[in-house]
Point group: C2
Chain length 389, copies 2
Amino acid sequence: MSEYSEHDKQGRSVGLVEKQFFTFAEPGNEVVLESGEKLGPITIAYETYGTLNADKSNAILVFHALSGDAHAAGYYSKDELKPGWWDVMIGPGKGIDTDKYFVISSNFIGSCMGSSGPSSQNLQTGMPYGMSFPVVTIGDMVRCQKALLDHLGVVKLLSCLGGSIGGMQALEWAVRYPEMVASAIPLATTYKHSALAIAFNEVGRQAIVADANWNGGNYYGKELPRKGLALARMVGHITYLSDDSMRRKFGRNLQDKTAFSFDFGVDFQVESYLRYQGEKFVDRFDANSYLYITKAADYFNLEYQHGDGSLVKAFEKTQAKFLVISFTSDWLYRTKESRRMVKAMKKAGLDVSFTEIEADFGHDAFLLANDQLTKLIAGFLARMSKEIR
Amino acid sequence: MSEYSEHDKQGRSVGLVEKQFFTFAEPGNEVVLESGEKLGPITIAYETYGTLNADKSNAILVFHALSGDAHAAGYYSKDELKPGWWDVMIGPGKGIDTDKYFVISSNFIGSCMGSSGPSSQNLQTGMPYGMSFPVVTIGDMVRCQKALLDHLGVVKLLSCLGGSIGGMQALEWAVRYPEMVASAIPLATTYKHSALAIAFNEVGRQAIVADANWNGGNYYGKELPRKGLALARMVGHITYLSDDSMRRKFGRNLQDKTAFSFDFGVDFQVESYLRYQGEKFVDRFDANSYLYITKAADYFNLEYQHGDGSLVKAFEKTQAKFLVISFTSDWLYRTKESRRMVKAMKKAGLDVSFTEIEADFGHDAFLLANDQLTKLIAGFLARMSKEIR
């Protein structure tokens, strides 16, 4: 048993972990991005849990969503109260069992969590890139993760998985590097953003650039565009919840009051919750990264980028086995989009399992402890370990 | 036939109309609002179409939604290209037949369309009210419209109707003035805002107050909080459309381009559409009014304000006959909320008809030409004319 008591209910922890960094694409070897622009040197932040086995057949790559980081499991110190973001899933004896598997959790370029992004220093100017950082795609993120795996000596992934933008990376990996990916688990995700998803992202971006402190992206070391980024997060948060979960969580409950305030302060708990989520986010996230990552998600289009407009053709590029999971109350990436994807995978002759999990928490359901999700993932990985040798 | 050819397809127009104003609550006679604050003098902007018959039995009161105005039908001048906002419904021979009915279209307090609101001049200071304008409720709006009807000599409404916030006014009228309201048609509305609806409104309000130009509401005659109000409108517009209508209207279509821009300009048509809607709105609407009206909608709660927490009890206060209409793709005020309302009306022993109209245009469907809607309203009004004498 781990010594981290709050966590013991969920199973053992991987314990103390350390964020690591891999830097490549040094001058002269810059990566040419999908936009045609060059980027280098590039740093990727990552963590690993468990041990790569002798025949290197137990590696699993985990991807985080928009605002996450490489810290998926364990603790950075004994004083830390909260473990990594997917600690309910990753650890000894858990859904992704680190006694069996070697888990790599990778941050992506464009982020502000240790990998190269708009807040990183541009070596040529000695200043943060800001908006001179090139626009990156999910494909660019995945190509940089491929360099990381080469560096780690991992030549084959037993599986790769993640939710939301993390699921897009899983799909991109399977199609872009078919020889490396034995299986993939896209969770609560889509193969291309709907107009609705693009619309919400666009509002978030406009909220950031409308903030006078944004200043064309040159705010590092100055006043941050706090209000704009907080607004973007508020809009995002609405889309992560569901109508039902909001009704149950907040309803029309009033905040600290028995009657209306008749002013423009906080009346309802849902208002307080959203303001708090917005405020909290600003302390840990970079506004420019929010612009870049949402743009990458909006650009993502598996059928266009890999199948000349045909999703079936895109999936014909891979032999990966798939476990696709959606959640009933996710209205950002709806089950019908997952079903469309599953249909195309089957038409492409792939081995695919699909489950829609009954969950009331909207899009965010994939992040929460869920026995069904844990069992599905554990079972799929066990099957993959047997079938793929 | 009207001479306004573009409109002839829809039927005859009421022709040239004039916005009128009624002012009351002069010093010493101020209205005490639900907040306990006093307001006066109060001006209400309104229009009328058709003629009040001898026994005063043919009056219909029409309410507009958040950003509308009293100009529901006809033209202000022969040069005007667009008629009033519900001209498809109101006119000679139309769904609300002005050959038969005397139609009053009323603006509400808090608005910026001619009625008293935050942009009006405070006579005590000689300056616009700004945020010193008291917070008003749907109940306050309706009480001021009652004063208007008294002024017009209308003692009984054959019907009253409107969509969205207009539907809230129809419900409030029926319950608050049961002796005056023979029937009501709440369209695409709810008896209380859900947490989701409050959440979207709160994001809109925060976008406005986050704009440095908002300046505590004191921006009249200075730089307007254009960016904040445009953002609020963008968020609103997403909720007025539906996932399907956006998919059909925009999909992932690119704007003026065959490839991604790889910058943060407009890539997708949906982005361009939202930016345009935001920009256009700022030219015609007051940011403070947006704060006040959305707050009134969030506060609206028929069961709490009129039924001590029971919707049935609230409806027991009226004898009005109801036609309730919802739209399949409206995800802001869902059909299930209308059904809950209809159930309570029936439990209260009321005569109520309910129809869910199949429409792909989301919440905004109630504003668009729709044969089924026109026929339902025309039929209901004809029945009311016979039954209520």
